[in-house]
């Protein structure tokens, strides 16, 4: 029997601002701009919206968004989805559930983040008071990581990456293949911040180590901008202007324990390891059926670990899997067709959803995956929380 949530909700509108480094606008202005564009794309008005899902620290509060947009009957408001960069994709599950259960008709999900001009993640512990970091991770960092010199994602995920590299003999060229694929695709995306900025394998290998095993070019961008997603039911979607994109499968997963890397028996068992099989089961799709994968790419090595968690290859095999252009446009499984966090912009995973939707609508011009029918989006955040959505047209 089909899962009750399968194909019940659709993304019907997407919108973006420009992606820059440096801005005169506020995150609220950006989130409103992207939301207005997503609503126009959906053929809906603000008064049609009755649900807002946003993520604390990465978007304004639902109440603020509603007041500014003119949403008068907000009846489903979620102001903190889970796990930082896992939140946008997890938001799809929250919104789809609310829509399928009739708790909301039309749900708006914006991300507006100035990770360049606002408080930067790299300032954790100095400008950012760890006690104010939402979720369970602030206290762990403040008491047990920070005094030992580890306090930013590059450090935490570096532990996973080192273990991965050492356990499986993964070479830097494998991570480089991820960076190069993202860059190649960014050249085809007018919104991408790194468009036109060449990156060769030699450039990648020569980029300096910032925190072993991460080179500078393993790390995502910090940018300013916003994007937004509008969802509704499959039934209402048929009356709206754009090709509906169905949430066929979705799931979130959390490593154990979720508030400490140290206590995990297997550091490479991530949230996505548990979530991915559930989402594929719900969607009745196999990894081999995917036309693309928008994999959360805060760091290149994280992408390799996620590809294995997705099941597109076995554990320890991603280094071989990404060779020979397989993850580039024209290959078996193109990833990050917009350029990702590595080369487009850092929208905390929301732009991965926007790109998946545009790919499935066949709107992507020269970066279009030919005849794309089904694709996957993943989210990743905090201490390895994972989220996944399988989308189809």
């Amino acid at each position: 029997m089909a899962h009750f949530l399968k194909d019940k909700a659709c993304v019907v509108g997407v919108g973006e601002t420009r992606y820059t480094r440096g801005t005169d606008t506020t995150t609220l202005q950006d989130a409103l701009q992207a939301s207005a564009r997503a609503l126009a794309d959906a053929g809906l008005k603000p008064h049609d919206i009755d649900g807002i899902v946003s993520n604390a620290g990465l978007a304004p509060a639902p109440e603020t968004l509603a007041a500014n947009l003119g949403v008068r009957e907000l009846r489903f408001a979620v102001g903190n989805t889970v796990g930082g960069g896992a939140g946008a994709c997890a938001g799809l599950q929250i919104a789809a559930t609310a829509i399928a259960c009739g708790l909301a008709r039309n749900v708006l999900m914006p991300v507006g983040w100035h990770s360049y001009s606002g408080l930067r993640v790299r300032k954790l512990g100095s400008e950012v008071d760890l006690a104010t970091v939402p979720g369970p991770i602030g206290a762990t960092i403040a008491d047990f990581y920070m005094p030992q010199g580890a306090f930013v994602p590059a450090h935490f995920y570096g532990w996973m990456a080192t273990r991965y590299v050492q356990e499986y003999g993964v070479r830097p060229e494998a991570a480089g293949a991820v960076a190069l694929a993202a860059r190649r695709h960014a050249h085809l995306n007018p919104l991408a911040y790194m468009r036109g900025r060449t990156l060769t394998l030699e450039d990648y290998l020569n980029s300096r180590i910032v925190s072993y095993p991460f080179r500078l070019n393993d790390c995502c961008l910090e940018t300013d901008g916003a994007c937004a997603i509008v969802m509704t039911s499959a039934q209402r979607a048929r009356d709206l202007p754009k090709t509906p994109v169905y949430i066929s499968g979705c799931a979130e997963g959390h490593p154990y324990p979720d508030d400490d890397f140290g206590a995990r028996t297997d550091l490479l068992h991530i949230g996505l390891t548990d979530a991915a099989p559930k989402a594929f089961e719900m969607a009745q799709v196999r990894p081999a059926d995917l036309d693309f994968a928008q994999v959360y790419d805060c760091f290149t090595y994280v992408v390799l670990i996620e590809l294995e968690a997705l099941g597109v290859c076995g554990r320890g095999e991603a280094g071989d899997f990404v060779r020979g252009g397989r993850i580039e446009l024209g290959g078996d499984l193109p990833i990050l067709t917009h350029g990702g966090l590595l080369s487009e912009a850092h929208l905390a995973g929301a732009s991965h959803i926007v790109e998946a939707v545009r790919q499935l609508r066949h709107e992507c011009g020269e970066r279009q995956v030919k005849d794309a029918e089904v694709g996957v989006v993943t989210g990743w955040g905090d201490f390895g929380d994972g989220s996944i959505a399988i989308l189809r047209r």
């Binding site: 790299r122 403040a142 008491d143 080192t162 300096r208 072993y212």
Partner: protein, 140 residues
């Protein structure tokens, strides 16, 4: 015995809740972890409750201070001014003999020597009048 460092510049632990108890032993240069008196399971980070058996009862049991390296990073670019003089430094995950794993800065050991399974042992660095921090160095 590590020497007192009046110039100690790195961030100090916030010592929130049960973490304060952990650091109270560190100040005496004792590495202790919680051990459940219900089922005997060791645990770290400090927590009010045993995730194995549900007991709220525990003691602070003395660790051998010995373990092996599970993974590490080596920080080259300091992201806070406090670490300007510390780089490059490595932060290791250590599998302790008691079965818990902990995060600590590596001392007196070249990053190039690091490998998975390398035996290490705890040393304490006196950071402030009330605070000593556990670090690890290569054993032997």
């Amino acid at each position: 015995m590590a020497s007192q460092s009046p110039q100690y510049k790195l961030p100090l632990p916030a010592r929130i809740g049960l973490a304060a108890e952990f650091y109270r032993y560190c100040k005496e240069h004792e590495l202790r972890f919680q051990r459940c008196t219900g089922c005997g399971a060791w645990r770290h980070l400090p927590r009010p409750m045993c995730g194995e058996c549900g007991s709220f009862d525990y003691q602070w049991a003395r660790s051998s201070g010995r373990g092996t390296v599970y993974s590490w990073i080596t920080v080259v670019q300091p992201l806070l001014p406090a670490f300007n003089d510390a780089v490059p430094y490595s932060v290791v995950l250590v599998d302790m003999e008691e079965g818990v794993r902990m995060v600590a800065m590596l001392q007196d050991t070249a990053p190039e020597a690091l490998r998975i399974g390398m035996p290490v042992e705890v040393v304490f660095e006196d950071a402030a009048a009330e605070i000593a921090l556990p670090r690890f160095k290569k054993s032997g």
